[in-house]
């Protein structure tokens, strides 16, 4: 159809581009390691080893007093509640944001048709809103809300909802774009609405990915609640803060063990969901 073809060269035409990319990667990364004062050898200098050993030894043995375990259980439940409520709220925030932003559900790109630049404009703005939501770390949002709502889990929930809403929205949109987008496009080309195209065309292929990312974020929320606990947003973090301030390493290590359990729980949950959706 396009007449005489140029003779195909017998070497990979992309080789040079790849080599350049690799070179740029090294050139950019090296100064970053220097800037970040990355000197792994320092870890193994005898003085530093002693200090770390002393610090870690203070964590042994984990505290198992009944009083503390009761407190721990209560704080764990609170943390789970903060993380779950926070993720649920951020999910509600993220779904419409992802819908607005993902190219896979753009009607105006088909053709391209009318309103294409308007659609692109909306996407850019929503993308910026999501960047704003997640650019401010959840601790900072927590500090803001602790001032407004007072000490307690409520501040943590709101902080998580906002930051994680931005993160989930961005990643959901990208997951939806990275799978096979032809089914959704075919539906849009047959006059289907965007929401219907999402559920009939994109979600069946992306459900596992979406579920495991959401559970992973829930796991992150559990961990983030520690940091927010330090600023008074309740849960395990607040307990950890108290234990550290009282220099009670045993309690701190019990709390860390609880974190390990929660992370493993998230793993199980994720695996179960993936199996269910697979």
């Amino acid at each position: 159809m396009n007449g005489a073809l140029a003779p195909t060269p017998l070497r990979d035409p992309q080789a040079r581009r790849r080599a350049t990319g690799l070179l740029i990667g090294v050139v950019v990364l090296w100064p970053m390691l220097v800037l970040a004062e990355f000197r792994p050898a320092a870890l193994f200098e005898s003085g530093n080893l002693q200090v770390m050993k002393g610090f870690l030894a203070s964590f042994m043995p984990p505290s198992t007093s009944a009083d503390f375990l009761g407190l721990l259980l209560q704080a764990t439940l609170q943390t789970l509640a903060i993380a779950t409520a926070g993720i649920a709220l951020s999910f509600l925030l993220a779904v419409p944001l992802a819908l607005a932003v993902t190219h896979a559900l753009s009607v105006s790109r088909i053709g391209p048709g009318r309103g294409r630049w308007w659609g692109e404009g909306v996407r850019v703005v929503v993308r910026m809103v999501m960047a704003l939501l997640r650019a401010v770390p959840e601790v900072v949002w927590a500090l803001v809300f602790v001032r407004a709502l007072g000490l307690g889990p409520g501040a943590g929930v709101l902080a998580l909802a906002i930051t994680y809403g931005g993160m989930l929205g961005k990643v959901y949109a990208e997951i939806l774009e990275s799978g096979d987008t032809r089914p959704a496009r075919a539906l849009l080309e047959a006059g289907s609405g965007r929401l219907a195209a999402l559920f009939y065309g994109l979600v069946p292929g992306a459900a596992q990915e979406l579920a495991s990312y959401t559970v992973y974020r829930w796991e992150c929320a559990v961990r983030a609640s520690v940091v927010m606990g330090f600023v008074g947003a309740g849960g395990l973090g607040q307990l950890m803060d108290q234990s550290m301030k009282m220099l009670n390493g045993g309690e701190a290590s019990t709390i860390l063990l609880m974190f390990l359990l929660l992370v493993m729980l998230a793993d199980l949950l994720s695996a179960a969901l993936r199996r269910l959706l697979g």
Partner: protein, 282 residues
């Protein structure tokens, strides 16, 4: 008129030209087969007609509307009246067959119905009827990843039958089917067109199928229409010229491709109006 293409040209964003000066008028209820070697622009022609690609030059009118001048709502309504059978059925593997078929009416269903149908299928009988016509009713509740390529292609056809569009654009709709099934599937598309009065434009790789079922044949090559004739007037010589780049064997889907090979003498003047037919064809 169901479809009007006037001097349509299409250049892809990468600069490759897919269509050039294509003019075609298809009346309501007409059935047209588009044939030609791969890369001839058959798919582009159908995509431009179905308002999924915008022509770079010329004018396209589908179901008496210029799709690109419609409002968003009008364009949606127009698209819901156009049914496209894709060569590779765009159906997520995890979808169940019934959901894949019911998706044909997403353009006309209100959103609540589309969402409710995911919880419980809204029209089991309708989906089964469409599948029955393609001999797949027993796979109604199977997942699409359990189907073979040919079965999935028939699910794609069933979706369009269930959609009940006014204009059917079928892009190599039976490329993954064996000859008997391909024949039956094309027959169903024809029967749908006859029963509902829907216009049917199908690109087909198998020349014999096109000649058997379609009263009008459009030959395409290099992005241009080379002939547009009643099937009876399509000669072997024209077909051989059309497929000259693909060797001396015409693409058919019968078990004896030899039946359509070029015989010396066919090209003699005067013999090129012999209608082409294969023994066994109707």
């Amino acid at each position: 008129m169901s479809l009007i293409l006037h001097n349509v040209g299409l250049v892809h964003p990468n600069g490759q030209r897919a269509l050039q000066g294509v003019s075609l008028v298809v009346g309501a209820g007409e059935r047209v087969a588009v044939i030609g070697p791969s890369g001839a622009g058959k798919t582009s022609l159908l995509r431009v007609s179905g308002s999924s690609l915008r022509a770079t030059e010329g004018r396209v009118e589908a179901l008496a509307a210029n799709p690109w001048q419609l409002s968003a709502r009008g364009l949606r309504r127009l698209r819901s009246r156009i049914g496209v059978v894709h060569q590779a059925p765009p159906i997520p593997p995890r979808l169940r067959v019934i959901t894949a078929v019911l998706a044909g009416r997403l353009g006309t269903w209100p959103m609540w119905k589309a969402l409710a149908s995911l919880a419980y299928p809204a029209d089991i009988a309708g989906a089964r009827d469409a599948l029955l016509r393609l001999d797949l009713a027993d796979r109604l509740f199977d997942r699409c990843d359990r189907l073979s390529g040919g079965q999935l292609q028939r699910v794609g056809i069933a979706r369009v039958l269930y959609q009940r569009p006014d204009l059917v654009l079928a892009d190599e709709p039976v490329s993954a089917l064996d000859p008997a099934l391909a024949d039956a599937a094309v027959g169903e598309l024809i029967a749908h067109s006859a029963a509902t009065g829907a216009t049917l434009v199908a690109s087909l790789h198998a020349v014999d199928l096109a000649l058997k079922w379609f009263p009008r044949i459009v030959g395409m090559r290099g992005g241009e229409v080379t002939f547009d004739l009643p099937a009876a007037q399509v000669s072997r010589a024209m077909l051989h010229e059309l497929y000259a780049t693909e060797g001396s064997v015409l693409p058919t889907q019968g078990n004896d491709p030899g039946a359509l090979t070029l015989h010396k003498g066919d090209l003699k003047a005067g013999t090129n109006v012999v209608p082409l037919s294969r023994p066994g064809c109707r």
